[in-house]
């Protein structure tokens, strides 16, 4: 299989999203870059069922961005796929704009208000439960951050999802190894993260979150799994992927590049990839 389309699409999304945050002088750039390839696979790889012209289509899959600080990349994807005009991104986090740094449910395709961690994941489980009760075969995809897994409520939901055999719930943990202030494993370790999810009753897969072959392999047949366990994919990623000067560095959480020289350097690194 040729993955060049996805490589190019992810690159385009990164570039456009980068410019949106630079213009706005805000937005969680590095958190968005770490999950760009994951969103590309879901939205452009035929995994998610959705209709940008009918955001409320009953037959859609639900994509729940639980790590809602990555809203810049979701908004970019929603605009790129046609949920709303790309011009709307120019108003990101600015006066008169329709969307801010965290997720706003009024934005078509965003599904929920989010920004307080662990909430989206629980809502995803509630949606999956409702779909099961209704005997509807839509799927629910939730994207969590690894730092988000510090929240106790994540594990309340994990226990619930496994007990209720929410096999229609696919969770992806964007494992970029950095939370707001430091490297996760140094500060307060989450490993062995696979064992934790497995112990809670999940089917666990671990992939390179920047490898389309691995992402698609993990997402293949998610609608026809034999297991009744919910699936979690731990996707190892690099926070800030695509711009080496801000990659894998804790102090680049929650911001974008704002100094002229930084912007020039970041552009050089991103565009001349």
């Amino acid at each position: 299989m040729d993955y060049s389309f996805f490589e190019k699409k992810a690159q385009q999304l990164r570039e456009e999203m980068f410019e949106v945050t630079v213009k706005a002088k805000t937005g969680h750039l590095t958190s968005s870059l770490s999950c760009t390839d994951i969103l590309t696979a879901l939205f452009y790889g035929g995994i998610l069922r959705y209709d940008p012209k009918a955001p409320d289509w009953e037959g859609r899959d639900y994509f729940i961005l639980s790590k809602a600080q990555a809203s810049p990349i979701l908004y970019e994807v929603l605009a790129d796929t046609g949920y709303f005009p790309k011009e709307d991104l120019n108003g990101f986090a600015q006066a008169g704009g329709k969307m801010g740094v965290h997720l706003q449910s009024s934005v078509p395709g965003s599904e929920i208000l989010a920004g307080s961690l662990a909430c989206g994941f629980g809502i995803a489980a509630g949606l999956a439960l409702a779909l099961k009760k209704n005997r509807e075969n839509n799927m629910v995809f939730a994207l969590l951050g690894d730092g988000e897994c510090y929240e106790g409520a994540v594990w309340e939901t994990a226990a619930f999802a496994a007990h209720n055999r929410l096999h229609n719930l696919v969770s992806i943990v964007d494992r970029n190894y950095i939370c707001a202030t430091h490297f996760i494993e140094d500060e307060l370790s989450l490993e062995p993260i696979e064992d934790k999810w497995r112990a809670f009753g999940f089917e666990v897969k671990r992939v390179d979150g920047h490898s389309f072959p691995e992402l698609f392999a993990a997402l293949a047949n998610v609608r026809s799994r034999r297991s009744t366990k919910p699936l979690v994919i731990i996707a190892d990623t690099v926070k800030g992927k695509g711009i080496p000067m801000i990659s894998d560095q804790p102090l680049w959480h929650g911001i974008t590049v704002t100094d002229e020289s930084d912007i020039a350097q970041a552009r050089k690194e991103l565009y001349n990839k």
Binding site: E111, A114, I123, L129, E156, A159
Partner: protein
């Protein structure tokens, strides 16, 4: 007339009847039961979800269900289902304006022997400030029964605040509870406005003072926030309002009354009665009345207070 049933059984019995006719009615319990729920669980197992002792997740599951069109009741002991998951209530039922009804048993200090962990004494303060939220504070079973219907029809979030014990019946069959305020003794110059079980205290105070020749009105504020037009109309003949709540003073019923009086420049004096926890929570045991006496919420203290003015 509802017979000697607890409020929670009254409420869940009515929700059961509604749920039998509407499969979209779902209860999400955070490991909280009720005899009436046993029937619900056995007859309608697909409409009952136990989230375990995990109130935050209970509210999030409720949210996911509501986003798929379910009419969800999230249920536990009042302080836990309002405060442990306050952020989830704030963001989802309130923030996204979803038809989720939070049901808390244990209004005020009715878990009298359990201490501050189980006292629901800040729930009105924190929930009445949220967008779209309506608090239904039950004072008798007729009302509680009606709250099931009201919340079932509501398209926005609600909090139903129920007492743990069997309270006397106050309202006749067929009472319309859409007004938000009930006039239980004609509004007079001095009038008590109370909520929940304290209505019974207010009625006793009014009756005691009537024997002494003093007319005291009683208003039941069972729906909070109180709507200004209804408040204005109800208090037209009053000049001193005595607010009475089994709840902390900051932010509660009395606070809302003060806000209305100030914001709308109403010619009313307000005297508040409730808990002052500024020096610490209440660890008094020996019954609810013992607690009321400590905080001057007993009939005798209130009679003296109103008589003295």
């Amino acid at each position: 007339m509802q017979k000697k049933t607890t409020m929670r059984d009254t409420f869940w019995n009515r929700v059961y009847e509604l749920a039998k006719e509407d499969r979209d009615v779902i209860i999400v319990s955070a490991d909280m039961g009720a005899p009436a729920l046993d029937k619900f669980r056995s007859d309608l197992p697909g409409q009952y979800v136990n989230a375990g002792i995990a109130e935050q997740n209970a509210l999030l599951i409720a949210t996911g269900l509501a986003l798929k069109g379910k009419k969800v009741y999230a249920y536990a002991i009042a302080p836990f289902i309002t405060m442990r998951c306050f952020e989830q209530i704030r963001l989802y039922p309130a923030g996204m304006n979803l038809p989720i009804t939070v049901v808390g048993v244990g209004a005020g200090v009715c878990y009298e022997e359990s201490g501050p962990t189980h006292h629901a004494v800040e729930d009105i303060s924190i929930l009445r400030i949220l967008p779209h939220m309506t608090i239904y504070s039950a004072s008798d079973n007729q009302m509680t029964h009606s709250f099931a219907d009201i919340t079932y029809r509501q398209k926005s979030p609600n909090y139903v605040r129920l007492d743990r014990i069997v309270l006397p019946n106050i309202y006749p069959d067929g009472t319309d509870f859409s007004e938000g305020l009930g006039i239980l003794r004609p509004v007079a110059e001095k009038t008590i406005i109370a909520t929940g079980s304290m209505i019974n205290t207010a009625l006793q105070v009014s009756d005691t003072l009537r024997e002494k020749g003093i007319s005291v009105g009683v208003i039941d504020a069972y729906s909070i926030p109180i709507q200004i037009e209804k408040f204005r109309k109800a208090t037209k003949n009053a000049s001193v309002l005595y607010t009475l709540e089994e709840h902390t003073l900051p932010g509660g019923l009395g606070s809302q009354v003060c806000e209305l009086v100030m914001d709308y420049n109403l010619p009313l004096k307000v005297r508040r009665s409730g808990f002052d926890f500024s020096q610490g929570y209440c660890y008094t045991y020996g019954g609810r009345m013992e607690i009321h006496r400590q905080y001057d919420l007993d009939v005798e203290s209130l009679v003296s207070k109103i008589e003295a003015e």
